[in-house]
Amino acid sequence: MTESATDRTTAPTAPDEPGTRPPGRTRGGRLTLREFTRNRLAVLGGGIIVFFVLFCFVGPHLYVTEQISVDPVNSMLPPGAGHPLGTDAQGFDVLGRIMKGGQASLQIGLLAALIATAIGTLYGTVAGLAGGLLDAVMMRVVDTLLSIPFLFIVLIIATRFSSTVLSLSLTLGAFSWLAPARLVRAEVLALRSRGFVAAATVMGATKARIIVRHLIPNALGVVIVNITFQVADAIIAVSLLGFLGFGLNYPAVEWGTQLSKGVSSLLDGSWWLIYPVGGCLVAVVMAFNFVGDALRDSIDVRLRRR
């Protein structure tokens, strides 16, 4: 078991000196990286994510289009010179619109996932560490919130508030921290019975210190895997909100709203309003799922090829 020097098992051995990294840790990290890059789907997924981040955030600076004022004369043009993907009913260039919509979708996806993960990690750690009555009450709260169908509650809230990137991220994040909370609690329950936590307690570490320095770093693997899935789920969720008419307000746009505008065009054959943006949406969500699957496999020591 010399190879057990992985991030999960070695990180806790020297957590008190942040300056000096134990040699095992970098090796563990490199092992994780090696395992990750060996998975072709994961590399593909990572590549797709990098491509879309560049496409959506750098793209508009290279391919400048008008996305605020409408241009009725040039509306519903099929793909051709000047407009590689045609124009929509307002005369917006579709390629530029996909870039703009992608910005919002990616921002909301990432922000919602970070919010959810931050709340969930803290909540799960506290519940797992507290144990007893507090843990039981905290987990019943999670059970209760988990029984309210996510889309229902998010839709109800989204109808009430004006939709901005921040408000949608907060709404989605506020109701998707439940799964990470459960995951992290289970991880903490498994970790807290381990020797190094007892050792830290004996050395006089406070509860807060044990949480921040010992439990959270060790549960990080589970958390990071969860973030990628959360991003994928949040991007789908925000597209559902947009599609049902509760997405960002004009002139802002995200992919779901863009698709819902295209539905009526489906019937008159303007395919360029649907397929390019739909393809981008599926590609990004798939990419995050690929990366999540691969990360889960590469963090799990048992699945490693030696």
Binding site: R140, V141, D143, T144, L145, S147, I148, P149, F150, L151, F152, I153, L155, I156, I157, T159, R160, A232, I236, S239, L240, F243, L244, G245, F246, G256, L259, S260, V263, L266, L267, G269, W271, I274, G278, L281, V282, V285, M286, N289
Partner: protein, 315 residues
């Protein structure tokens, strides 16, 4: 076993009560003035105040919740002022069609996903597995409405064989009387559910295939087919029971989207219209029903698992 069932039942009741508190407080906090919402912006402040007093909206939130709860316990979900109908009547009118749509889709999904997952696991790494895994991955990463749009494009616009809109009949049994118009909604809902189930079924079957009892059964001289149908299938389906119980919220969300895409008159469309009308009693009523179904689904799944697998009872 009975003790376990009773304990699970008690927690379920507490969870449902908790859901009613949360949804009530949330909607109460967001609804603003119900009198204003119902009478409109033109109404005088006096008329709004009189309406709110008459209907008890000027009482404290705790009193309002308790009176709501008392009505709930008598089976009264409230009254939709926007539609001028009781929520009970609205739900009763639409529930049958939604239940049938979901049930048909769920049964089809299980019927497709179980053999599909086992097939993928047995042929692991082969071309069939790779193609199917890719397809389910794409479907899994696709929002429900996008799948619906693709199906409309192919079957309604391209081939022109199926209508793009669901049947508008008010009968719950329209799925049998007008199956052509129901095919696309059912297909959409089945598609997303299969994508979810078969992923789990594949990994459950893979786990089971590696177990010793499979090797034992094979070395006894049983044919692969015998082993798969008699030994593997039963064990590989245990996780599916839990998954079906847990998939109720996803199924309800799928319903909501599918019904609004295909304009299929059911609970999902009712909820969608209520969102646009700010019809809070309907939103509250259906959310509570959906949450109750979710809790019941989990409860039934847990009890079924406990019946079939005694190891879980002590947990």
């Amino acid at each position: 076993m009975i003790q376990y069932a009773l304990r699970r039942l008690a927690t379920s009741v507490i969870v449902i009560l908790g859901v009613s508190v949360i949804t009530f407080v949330l909607l109460h906090g967001m609804a603003g003035s119900p009198g204003r919402a119902i009478l409109g912006v033109q109404a005088s402040p006096g008329a709004v105040a009189a309406f709110e007093h008459e209907h008890g909206y000027d009482r404290s939130i705790v009193v309002q919740y308790l009176s709501y709860l008392a009505h709930l316990l008598h089976g009264d979900l409230g009254y939709s002022y926007k539609l001028n109908q009781s929520v009970n009547a609205l739900v009763a009118e639409n529930a049958g069609r939604t239940a049938l749509l979901s049930a048909v889709a769920l049964v089809l999904a299980i019927g497709i996903a179980v053999p599909l997952g086992v097939f993928q696991a047995v042929k692991r790494g082969g071309i069939g597995d790779t193609v199917l895994t890719t397809l389910t991955f794409v479907a899994y990463s696709m929002p429900v409405f996008l799948l619906a749009m693709l199906l409309i494009q192919v079957f309604a616009m391209g081939l022109g064989v199926l209508p793009a809109q669901a049947s508008q009949s008010s009968s719950a049994f329209v799925i049998f009387t007008d199956p052509r118009a129901m095919l696309l909604p059912v297909l959409t809902l089945t598609g997303v559910t299969v994508a979810l189930f078969s992923r789990y079924q594949r990994s459950a079957a893979l786990d089971q295939l590696a177990q010793d009892y499979i090797t034992v059964a094979r070395s006894k001289g049983l044919s692969m087919r015998m082993v798969l149908t008699r030994h593997l299938l039963r064990n590989a389906c245990a996780p599916l029971v839990t998954l079906i119980g847990m998939s109720i919220p996803l199924l309800l969300a799928g319903n909501l989207v599918v019904e609004s895409v295909f304009n299929y008159p059911g609970l999902g469309l009712l909820f969608f219209n209520a969102l646009n009308n700010q019809d809070y009693p309907v939103l509250l009523g259906y959310t509570l029903i959906a949450a109750t179904l979710t809790v019941l689904g989990n409860l039934v799944a847990d009890l079924l698992v406990a019946v079939t697998d005694p190891r879980t009872r002590r947990a």
